[in-house]
Symmetry: C2
Subunit: 223 residues, 2 copies
DNA sequence: ATATATTTTTAGGGTAGTCTAAATTTTTTA
DNA sequence: TAAAAAATTTAGACTACCCTAAAAATATAT
């Protein structure tokens, strides 16, 4: 049990490597990390050497980077904390789903295993965060549900709104104004050929037009 | 509105200067700060120059240090956050009052005014934290209640247990084992001359002996 | 297949916060 | 009130994380 503490910054790198390497654990490039961390490539190289020394990533010069099992564990713990705190902020404190990201970004680095487990219990062991992202369990199991992107849904199909790919406040606020919330029933009425915009009916009521840009960021589930 | 961010470390110095300078705003020494921050005097001197440059403290070399109004404001905000989070941890998450200090020490540095105000509302605007310390209001008003130390209570008097001076887990656990909780009625039955230990009755029930060391750390109120 | 463009790493450096050792100032004591 | 003791500051240095500019490696294009 090498329970050496990782810094705020190290945790962020691991979290970002996790999210950029996707489900298949593909190599992440230095430039992609520089972009995501808002630093320069040279700074990323420094940090990668450090994370490799600590055994948290697989790193060969010029070859990109991948999490080790131990790095993956740390990343998933951070993700678990982030998502649980988001649930707290929305469900208990009354924040909107468009307001919680930055605050959770800070809270996710508070140490204390016990805190996380008590928070989880207090929230009733939620399985998804306010954006529909799955919350890893205490053992570090993270099962990605197999959602479909709305662009893959045919005219006439009825689906359940389950999550978003884009977490930007402006996008989430747009959904709020359109009445598209998690759990809403979306029926695709029509798809325009020339721009792939769609006409959809929400919860059997209002019909509205959504652009391809929006469709590409909506995760839904067939019933 | 000079809303420049103060670092985690700066906030800690300000909070500690506040608590060491007491209600009269007396000068705090470099060595006292080194002790409280677990650093060396030389490091404290560096930080004091920095805080003085930022206008957060009054500092003249070799003369000790005092908060400016602006420094006082920052310190009180940190104290407000610390105490609100302690209430959350005890009341909502079920932590014991002996377990929350270190976690609150981290949470108190999470930025976001809105977060604090929503937390305060969620908790029902508590006036005291789990140790009986008063919680500053949103405007930064901190009114210290005029508690009495148990050593100043005469034999025969009945008082209410209102707070503790020592927040050490071992002390709080000792009180737990003795059945001395916030709000308990304490009647002083007898005081031993030679060691000032006392015999007290709790809530009209069990009688127990408490040492001078314990009495000196109990804050009570006459009724 | 070689020249060009892109990506990544190295070299050298900066700031925040910490340290030890030495110098200086203040306080205490005789 | 002068010497000794204690407290404080200065000097110089270290780590974590970041930077720019230049060098090296890889990828792309003709």
């Amino acid at each position: 049990m090498t329970s050496m503490q990782n810094s705020f910054t190290e945790e962020n790198y691991l979290k970002i490597i996790h999210s950029l390497s996707g489900r298949e654990g593909v190599e992440v490039s230095t430039n992609a990390l520089a972009e995501s961390t808002s630093t320069r490539a040279a700074s990323v190289t420094d940090m990668l050497r450090k994370l490799a020394d600590k055994g948290l990533i697989h790193y060969k010069k010029y070859q990109g980077v991948r999490l080790t099992d131990s790095g993956e564990k740390v990343a998933i713990k951070v993700i678990r904390k982030h998502r649980l705190w988001e649930v707290f902020l929305v469900e208990k404190l009354g924040f909107g789903w468009d307001e919680v990201h930055d605050i959770a970004e800070e809270l996710e680095h508070i140490p204390s295993e016990i805190l996380v487990e008590k928070l989880d219990t207090f929230l009733g062991h939620p399985r998804f965060d306010p954006h529909g992202d799955p919350i890893p369990d205490a053992k570090g199991n993270l099962t990605e549900p197999d959602y479909t992107i709305l662009t893959d849904i045919q005219v006439g199909e009825k689906v359940l709104m389950m999550g978003v790919l884009d977490h930007a406040p402006s996008f989430l606020q747009h959904l709020d104004r359109s009445g598209i919330t998690l759990g809403a029933v979306i029926e695709v009425k029509e798809i325009n050929e020339y721009d792939k915009s769609a006409s959809v009916q929400i919860n059997g009521g209002q019909t509205l037009f959504i652009s391809l840009e929006v469709s590409k960021n909506l995760l839904v589930q067939r019933r």
